[in-house]
Symmetry: C4
Subunit: 230 residues, 4 copies
C-alpha cells in the first residue's frame, strides 16, 4: 500500500511539474502568441502524461486524479479503505509538483494564482472533458489506456473553453501557481463540481454502452467481413 501511495504522490507531482513548468516555459518563449504557448504546454502534457501512466500504472493504477479514484472506488475496483489515502497522496503530490516547478524556474515557491476562470461555458467544458476522461478510464483496454488518456487530454486542452483541467488534484496544484496554468482559488470549487458531474455522467454512459469487450473478442462490424468480399 505504501508503494501505491508513493506512486500516486510521485506521479501526480511529476504531472503537475510538467503542466505548470511547460506553461511557464511556453509563456516565456512564445513572444506573446498564446496559441504557441498552449501548443507547447499541450505537447509536454501529452508526452508526460503518457510516460507517467505507463510508469506508475503497474504499481498504483496511475490515477493521479481524485475523480478517477472516486469512480473506481464506487465501482469496487479500488478498496474503500484506499480512497482517502489515494486522494491525500494525489493532493500532496500536486502541491509538491507545483512547488518543484517554481523552484526550477527561480520563482517564489509559495504562490496563489490570480487567474480567474469562471462562467457556465467553462463549467460545461470541465464536465465534457472529465466525461471523456472517465469514459476512457472505464473502457480503454489496459495496454492502450496511457496513450488514450494522454490523447484525450491533449485534444481537450484545445477543444474545451477551460483548457481542460478534468482533475481536482490538478485544480488544487494549479491554485498554488500564479503562472500560465494557474487557477484562482475562488474559481476552483465550481471546477471541481463540474468535474465530478462529468465523471458521474461518464459512469452512466458506460452503463448504457454496455460492458467493455476484451481485446480481440469482438471485431468491429466494419472490419469483420471485408476480406470475404475483397
Amino acid at each position: 500500500m505504501l508503494r501505491r501511495l508513493l506512486a500516486e504522490a510521485l506521479g501526480t507531482a511529476l504531472l503537475l511539474a510538467v503542466v505548470i513548468g511547460s506553461g511557464v516555459m511556453g509563456q516565456r518563449l512564445a513572444g506573446g502568441n498564446v496559441a504557441v504557448a498552449l501548443l507547447a504546454n499541450t505537447l509536454a502534457t501529452i508526452a508526460g502524461l503518457y510516460v507517467l501512466i505507463e510508469l506508475f500504472g503497474p504499481v498504483s493504477g496511475a490515477h493521479f486524479n481524485p475523480a478517477v479514484s472516486l469512480v473506481l472506488c464506487a465501482r469496487g475496483a479500488l478498496p474503500r479503505a484506499a480512497l482517502v489515502p489515494y486522494v491525500a497522496a494525489q493532493l500532496l503530490g500536486a502541491a509538491a509538483g507545483a512547488w518543484n516547478a517554481h523552484a526550477m524556474y527561480g520563482l517564489d515557491v509559495l504562490q496563489w494564482s490570480h487567474h480567474v476562470r469562471a462562467g457556465a461555458g467553462q463549467w460545461l467544458a470541465e464536465g465534457v472533458a472529465t466525461f471523456g476522461l472517465v469514459l476512457v478510464v472505464l473502457r480503454a483496454p489496459t495496454a492502450r489506456v496511457a496513450a488514450m488518456v494522454a490523447a484525450w487530454i491533449g485534444a481537450a486542452y484545445w477543444f474545451t473553453s477551460s483548457t481542460s483541467f478534468a482533475n481536482p488534484a490538478a485544480v488544487f496544484g494549479r491554485m498554488l501557481s500564479d503562472t500560465f496554468a494557474g487557477i484562482a482559488p475562488a474559481s476552483a470549487p465550481a471546477f471541481v463540481v463540474a468535474e465530478l458531474a462529468g465523471a458521474a455522467a461518464a459512469v452512466l454512459a458506460h452503463r448504457l454502452l454496455g460492458p467493455r469487450l476484451p481485446a480481440g473478442a469482438r471485431v468491429a462490424p466494419s472490419h469483420s467481413t471485408l476480406d470475404a468480399h475483397g
Copy 2:
C-alpha cells in the same frame, strides 16, 4: 442496436465538438497566424479522433461518417436495415456536437456558417481526402485502424486545399457553426458529392489492390529475406 446508435451519436458529437471547439480556441489565441490556429486544430483532431475510434469502435464500429457507413453497407459489412439509423445518429450527433462547442465558448448555440468553400480544386481535394480515408477503413488491420484514420485526417488537414472534411456528417455539423471550421450551407452539397465520389474510387482501388492480408500472414518483400543476407 440502441447501444450502437448511442455510440455513433455520442462519438460523432464529441468529434464535432473537438473539431469546432479547437477551431474556435485556435483562432482566438493565434493572434492572426492562421497556420498556428490550424496546427492546433489538427493536433486536437488527430488526438480526439484516435481516442473516439478506440473508445466506440468495439460498440458500433465507430464510423461517425455516412460515407463510411454507406461503403460498408454496400459491401455487406453493415446490415441494410442499419444504414438509415446509423446516418441519422451521425447527423444528430454532429449537430449536438456543434451546439456543445458553441455552449462551451459562450457563443449563440444556433448559427449558420457564412464560410464559402468552393471551386474545382477544393472538390478534388475532398475526393482525394475521402478516397484515402475509405481506403484506410477498408484495408487497415483492426488494431491500427484508429491510429491510421487519425493520422490520415491529420495529414489531409494540411495537404488538401479544403482542409479535408471527408465526412458528410462533419459537413452537416460544420454548416451549423459560423466559426473557423464552418462551411456555408450553399457550399455543402458539392462537398458531399465529392466525398461520395472519393469513397467510390476507394472501393474500386481496394478491389484492384486485392484482398487485405491478415497481419503476419505475409511479410512485405522488402523485409522477408534480409536476415538470411545479414
Copy 3:
C-alpha cells in the same frame, strides 16, 4: 505484379501530394514564419508517410523510393526483374502526385521548380538522411517499420540542412513543383548522387552491426537482468 506496381505508384503519388500540398498550405497560412510552415509540412509528412506505408506495405513493400528498391534488389529481397518496373511506377506516381497537389490548389499543373538547393552541406545532409532511412528499412522489425520511417523523416526534415528529401522519386516529383517543397532540376542530380551514397553507407553499416535480431529473441542488455535486481 500489377498490383504491386499499382501500390507503388498510388503510394508514391499520395506521398508527393502530401509533401507538396502541405508545403503550399503551410506557406500560404504561416504569414511569413517559415518555421511554422515547415512544422506543418513535417506533421503532414510524418502522418501521411505512416499511413501510406501501413496501407501499401502488405502489397508491394511500400518502398516509394528508388534508393530503397535498389538496396533491396542488391540484397536479393526484390527480384531483379522487378527493379525497373518498381522505379518507373515510383517516378510516374511522383509526377502524378505533384500534379494532383497543383490541381487541388488551383495552380498550373505543369511547372518546373526554380528553388536552387546546393552546396556541400546540403549534399552531406542528403547522405546522412538517406543513410538513416535505409538503415531503418534494413533493420526495423516489420511491425514498426512504418512508424520508424515516418519518425526518421520527420526528424530529418529539421536536423538536416536540406530538409531531407532522401528519395530520388521525391526529388523527381518536387522538380515538377515551383512551390515550398520544390527543387530546381539543376540541383537534382547532386541530390540523387548524395542519396545513393548514403544508401550505400547504410548497407555497409548494416553489415558491420551484424544481423538484425527477430523481435523478442534478444532483450537489450540494459533491461534483461533488472527484475532480478529489483
Copy 4:
C-alpha cells in the same frame, strides 16, 4: 563488443546531430520566436530518439548516455569491463555528431559554445529530468522503452528550466557547438553533477517502488474488475 561500441557511437552521433542540427534550423527559420524554434527542436528530438533507440537497442541497449550506462553497470546489467568503453564511444559519438551538424550547415566544424546555463533552478531541473529518464530506463517494458524515453525527453524539453540535457554525453557534444542547443564548457560540470544526482535518486525510487512487473502479470487495479461490474 565492437558491434556494441559501434552502435553506441553511431547512435550517440546521430542523436547529437539531430539535437544540434534541428536547433540550428529552428533558430534560422523561426523569425525570432524562440518557442517555435524549441517546438521544432523538440519534435525532431522525440522522433529521432525514438528511431535511434529502436534501431540500436537490440545491438547495444541504446544507452547513448553515460549516466544510464553507469546505473546499469552498478546494477549488474552491464559488465564492469564494458563501462569505460561504452562511455568513451558515447563521448566520441557526441563530438562526431556535433561536428556533423556543423558540416551540414556550413558552419565552422570546431567550436566552443558561449551559451552560459547556470543557477540552482537549472541544476534542479537537470536532476528532475535525469531522475525521470533513469526511472523510465529501469522500469519501462522493453517493447515500450523507446517511445517512453522519447516522450519523457520531449516533455522535459519544455517543463524543465534547463530544457533537459539529462545526459553527460549530450552535455559534452553541446559544449562543442556555439548554436541554439549549446552549453558553455564552464557550465558543463554542474550539469553533469546534477544529472548524476538525479540518476542516483531514480535508483532509490526504483527500489522503493518495488520490482518492475512483467507485462500482463498484473493488471492495474483500476481496470481489473471493471468488466464484472460493467
